[in-house]
């Protein structure tokens, strides 16, 4: 097998950003309502308004950070191994050989299901391996799962 061009980096679905945005938005709205009401009752309408604005600004800042984190996720299926990169503050790159894969886990939590997403996780014998790809469209997750399983079978190496 000649080493052809490296396959392209793939990214999680834009649905992941929509999901994260919805999560941050909901949390911000709830917190804004809570603090707004508390300060309204305790200090008056000005304090209530200020607290709502503060919470909204913090929420916007956090959503900017979450956006960057979403954009940091990427993965690449090479011939022999899977590359997963992630992180903004702490940047990580994992190289997991298919042969080392013990099993592939596809999970979809209740919020993920609302957005038709799932998370694919590759387990190796090492606890630290850390190859997780969140926010994949259901079809892409199934494709990746089957492909990883197939590659894992054909390249399986013992301990």
């Amino acid at each position: 097998m000649t080493v052809s061009e490296e396959p392209a980096w793939l990214r999680p679905s834009p649905g992941l950003w929509r999901m994260r945005r919805a999560e941050v938005g909901t949390m911000t709205a709830l917190l804004a309502a809570f603090f707004g009401l508390v300060f309204l009752a305790a200090e008056g309408s000005t304090a209530g308004l200020v607290s709502v604005v503060v919470v909204l600004v913090l929420g916007a800042a956090f959503s900017w950070f979450v956006r960057r984190r979403y954009r940091a996720w990427r993965y690449q299926e090479r011939h022999e191994d899977l590359l997963v990169a992630r992180g903004v503050m702490v940047q990580r790159l994992s190289v997991v050989p298919y042969g080392r894969m013990q099993f592939v886990e596809v999970t979809a939590g209740p919020i993920e299901r609302l957005f038709h997403l799932s998370t694919v996780k590759l387990h190796t014998a090492a606890a630290a391996s850390d190859a997780r790809i969140p926010g994949l469209e259901v079809a892409e997750a199934a494709r990746l799962r089957d492909r990883l399983t197939e590659l894992g079978e054909s390249m399986a190496a013992g301990m």
Partner: protein, 491 residues
């Protein structure tokens, strides 16, 4: 009852029982507790109403004796082809088959009472779990030793003779050195320091001292317990070279014989605590996989850490290491000087390196730890760059092996170097893995015709070459000097 071997099931021949003294050894463990209970309740009830109420203790003793006897009655074992089958249990039948080919290790454990009675317990570990899978308690000493060899022989090529006294002692720990090493450990120093402080305090403020002593008593006792366990567990430690692995025998009251199999080693760690360094002492630990990924897909992996040498000289340690990993001595380089800003304390010893087969790294300041990882065992390679490392242009590369703890860390390397390391280490791991797969017999460390060691170089270019796990390695020696020369792969 399990079915599956109808032919074996049909015959009822060949069942063997445990040693007739097993119930005594088994129940005997309870005697100190019973005596204590007896004394306490006698004193207590005498004080309460003037007469002893110890009927329930008699019942308890009888019950445990009956239990021990019944357990002995219903436990039996035999060989069925190439499996060992152990059956036990009166109410809930427990019948387990241990395939000889998958036996990882056979340990002999001899608690004090068993030693007095001349019996031993046999613990059998099978690939696929980290815990003890089969237990025969108790067998006559000679029978246990014989059975152990038979089980280990079944695991290997039957042509290779497995005897109990092959190989030479690789390392042993004298009582003086063990005492010294335990004395120079953190636990002992805390214990002794606290007691000394209390003694001084007692001179001036006896009442405070008594109060503090009462408060600390539990901690001090538990510390003393830790020290005692270390002393008694590692007493008379001896490591002997065996064909399937390094055999270890240790223990004061309870003797333990265990085997560290060559092919299962995930990582080797040499730890040199601060207080041991003036004496040139170190501790050697290995991480061993208990499960095979192929057989236990989805079951996770149990990795156990074992002390290969509780305390020893650098030379002892190197000797063991050479035997286990084939004398890996890749050149290590320190990280760039600016890493000092990020890791001011640990920078001092920080270094890492690799060759074709191993990655090695040194970390730690107080406990200097050197970790060797055979690249064929690498599970994944990771690059991590934290917020402190980014402005300095540094990154850390990890080579992960099975388990939670063991990994080789190329800490705080230059970013360009780290990127290169990721590529090279994953490629080298892949090559090492392929080489390993192509010769499964050699990889198991089982089918070696000759034990690993230095032998005359077959190529004739050097005086000696290291033979390891059934193949020649790149390590060669000339006039006592070691060097590396890549060897063309064996067909």
């Amino acid at each position: 009852m399990t079915t599956g071997h109808p032919d074996a099931e049909a015959s009822d021949e060949g069942w063997q029982r445990l040693h007739p003294l097993s119930p005594v050894a088994r129940v005997g463990r309870l005697v100190p507790a019973l005596v204590l209970l007896f004394l306490v309740s006698t004193v207590h009830s005498k004080a309460e109403n003037g007469r002893a109420e110890t009927d329930y203790l008699v019942v308890l003793t009888l019950a445990s004796a009956v239990y021990g006897y019944v357990h002995w009655m219903v436990t039996r074992w035999r060989f069925e082809g190439d499996t060992l089958r152990i059956e036990t249990g009166l109410i809930r039948k427990d019948s387990r088959r241990l395939p000889l080919a998958r036996i990882q290790a056979v340990d002999i454990v001899r608690p004090l009472l068993a030693r007095i009675l001349g019996v031993s317990e046999l613990r059998i570990r099978v690939a696929g779990s980290g815990s003890t899978d089969g237990k025969l308690a108790y067998l006559a000493e000679a029978q246990a030793a014989e059975l152990r060899l038979a089980l280990l022989a079944g695991h290997h090529d039957p042509d290779v003779a497995v005897s109990s006294n092959t190989g030479l002692p690789m390392a042993m720990v004298t009582t003086g050195r063990l005492l010294g090493s335990v004395l120079l450990s953190l636990v002992s120093i805390i214990l002794i320091g606290t007691i000394a402080t209390l003694a001084v305090l007692d001179e001036f403020e006896p009442r405070t001292a008594a109060a503090v002593a009462g408060f600390l008593a539990v901690y001090l006792l538990s510390f003393a317990g830790v020290i005692w366990r270390r002393l008694s567990g590692q007493y008379a430690f001896i490591a002997v070279e065996g064909p399937e692995g390094v055999r270890i025998r240790r223990g004061l009251l309870q003797t333990i014989s265990e085997t560290v199999p060559y092919g299962r080693i995930q990582a080797v760690r040499q730890v040199e605590p601060l207080l041991w360094r003036p004496f040139g002492w170190c501790r050697l630990e290995v991480d061993i996989a208990g499960a095979t990924a192929r057989n236990q897909r989805g079951e996770g992996t149990a990795v156990v850490r074992k002390a290969l040498l509780p305390v020893g000289s650098q030379q002892d340690s190197w000797h063991l290491l050479a035997r286990l990993l084939g004398a890996p001595d890749p050149e290590r380089t320190p990280p760039p000087r600016r890493a000092k800003l990020k890791a001011p304390l640990s920078f001092h010893f920080l270094s890492a390196g690799y060759d074709g087969a191993h990655a090695v790294c040194v970390t730690g300041r107080i406990n200097r730890a050197t970790t060797w990882v055979p690249l064929e065992k690498s599970q994944s390679v990771r690059l991590v760059q934290g917020p402190l490392q980014r402005p300095l242009g540094l990154a850390t590369v990890h080579v992960d092996v099975a388990g939670k703890r063991a990994r080789a860390e190329f800490r705080d390397r230059e970013v360009a170097e780290a990127d290169r390391l990721v590529d090279e280490l994953s490629e080298l791991s892949r090559v090492a893995r392929l080489r390993h797969q192509r010769s499964p017999a050699a990889s198991e460390g089982a089918g070696d015709a000759a034990p690993s060691g230095w032998y005359p170089d077959p190529s004739g270019r050097h005086e000696q070459r290291y033979w390891h796990h059934g193949r020649w390695t790149e390590h060669v020696g000339d006039g006592g000097r070691r060097s590396s020369e890549v060897v063309t792969p064996m067909p």
